[in-house]
Amino acid sequence: MNAANPGIESLKETTAGDGTVATAKVFNISPSINVSEPVPTAGRRFSLAAKNFFQWLVPPVLGLTIFIGIWALVSQTSPQLPGPLKTWASAQQLFSDPFYNKGPNDQGIGWNILASLQRVGIGFGMAAAIGIPLGFMIGRFKFLNAMTAPIISLLRPVSPLAWLPIGLLVFKAANPAAIWVIFISAIWPMIINTAVGVNRIPQDYMNVAKVLNLSEWKIFTKILFPAVLPYMMTGIRLSIGVAWLVIVAAEMLTGGVGLGFWVWDEWNNLNVEHIIIAIFVVGIVGLLLEQMLVLLAKRFSYE
């Protein structure tokens, strides 16, 4: 690109929140420069698109490269920590057969991921089924809000794993206890965000409901629900995040099949490569869950 051309420099790059880059169409060519071609030619437009693409691509790739570089350096000095190459080789082998099953303590990585996802799905689903309606009611009725406020503020800051013994005691089995921990840690953000959303509905909308004399059902479907939806989606996203954080820890303690158990098992086997792979897998699956919900939330935003 022509660095001396301030017109190009002032070109705005529009970057959407999810990291995608829209090609800028607006030119802002300052009058002080000699413009022979005010209209961009196809070639110039292509080079602009290429520039935007590189600006989007280069920083994350650079960041990852540096990260892997530091990892490689640290692994040189500490012989027990496997380096990137060794881990990569191990990962290739691991993912070549993700769905083998050699008894309850030795199953493929795919089964482990699915087992964890299933627990999170059940725990989170139950939390949503109870938390969201509860949030609506707490937001709509002041009495209920005052009634539940002390309980929520008391229980919300409790570390999720503190609930595990209670779960084991009540359910007398590891798997429901793990799901219980997911449930109890995922429910708070949904209750609180939904209730806050109901509280923050602009008075204008409620006045419309009053003036039009809408029925409770119409108020719910046409005003409350759409107005609260963005808040609810935030709550759901936070909940999924928490649930996915907690599952690894819960499974380490409860055992069975699952990523958390697998990490602990590989620690007992002193297979550090697999532990590092597990960290990446947990991170990537969490990222995918989050992105899925971001996309879902975008579909439901009305602005």
Partner: protein
């Protein structure tokens, strides 16, 4: 824009079809045979409970409004004119006094009193059509088929000249258009009284003038009884049959009522050279800025 302002016969036909019983009043005659006390406000007082004790917002409000009359409430901010409008809307209940609309006590909001809010208050997740349809549905769902309710909705949007924007969302249209949808929503319920809380306050001067002209036409076409809160002296004189001027709060009341007997239809440009127009305007300004001037804040 001018084709919206002048109601052609086609548009009248659409309106006539969906609002049966509505007759287009011959200009200037729309105040004949009116029920005299269509809206009746007697000895109304409004006291709000605050942390510092009771706050009297309004006292001794007495006002009778004829059917088909256009009333403006004007006064400095904080004089309780919106409070008075909310009382008539039924959004708040007076601490004292009686309020009647068409012979029935006002005990809460009702479809016979359509409200247009200052900031349009359209639901952003519904299209213009759906916003209006929500009101139509509420009033006519028991008596009418869904086809005829659809027609009503379309007629209400046609009345404000927005047929082309039916399926747009509020964020896709201009501020003036949003306010027009708000008016269509209120009118679609076939209210006996149209209540407007500074309906054009948030609009630019040109759009405001345009909508004022349209409102005059719609009010004449539908023979609506209108109560409008406004800050704008010109708007009050141009649109009103009577201007209710309120004293400063707290404990505000009606200071003076000015009858504006300018012939209808009124033409903005012609009025600019009309000495009576300036007389009325002067009277309101005198009330607001000499007799009710707020002490410097």
């Amino acid at each position: 824009m001018s084709e919206i302002g002048s109601p052609d016969e086609g548009r009248k036909a659409v309106i006539r079809e969906t609002f049966p019983g509505l007759r287009f009043a011959p200009s200037g005659l729309h105040r004949e045979n009116l029920m005299e006390k269509y809206v009746q406000i007697e000895n109304v007082q409004m006291t709000f409970d605050t942390k510092k004790g009771p706050f009297v917002a309004l006292r001794d409000i007495n006002l009778n409004i004829e059917q088909g009359e256009f009333i403006s409430l004007i006064g400095h901010s904080g004089c309780g004119k919106s409070t008075l409008l909310n009382l008539v809307a039924g959004l708040t209940i007076p601490s004292n006094g009686a309020m009647l609309c068409a012979g029935r006590e006002i005990a809460g909001p009702g479809p016979e009193r359509g409200v247009v809010f200052q900031n349009h208050s359209l639901l952003p997740w519904l299209t213009c059509f759906e916003n209006v349809h929500l009101a139509v549905e509420r009033v006519f769902a028991r008596a009418e088929s869904s086809a005829s309710m659809k027609k009503r909705t379309q007629a209400a949007l046609a009345l404000v000249g927005l047929s082309h924007a039916e399926h747009k969302y509020p964020h896709e249209i201009s501020g003036g258009m949003k306010q027009r949808v708000g008016i269509a929503r209120a009118l679609s319920m076939q209210p006996k009284v149209l209540l407007m809380d500074e309906p054009f306050g948030a609009l630019d001067a040109l759009t405001r003038a345009h909508l004022q002209d349209e409102l005059m036409k719609i009010a004449a076409e539908t023979k609506s009884t209108v109560i409008m809160v406004t800050h704008d002296v010109d708007e009050a004189v141009l649109l009103s049959d009577r201007i209710v001027m309120m004293t400063n709060g707290p404990a505000a009341t009606i200071g003076e009522i000015l009858t504006v007997s300018l012939p209808r239809p009124r033409e903005r440009l012609a009025l600019a050279n009309n000495p009576k127009y300036h007389e009325y305007r002067g009277a309101v300004l005198d009330f607001l800025y000499r007799r009710q001037l707020r002490p410097a804040a």
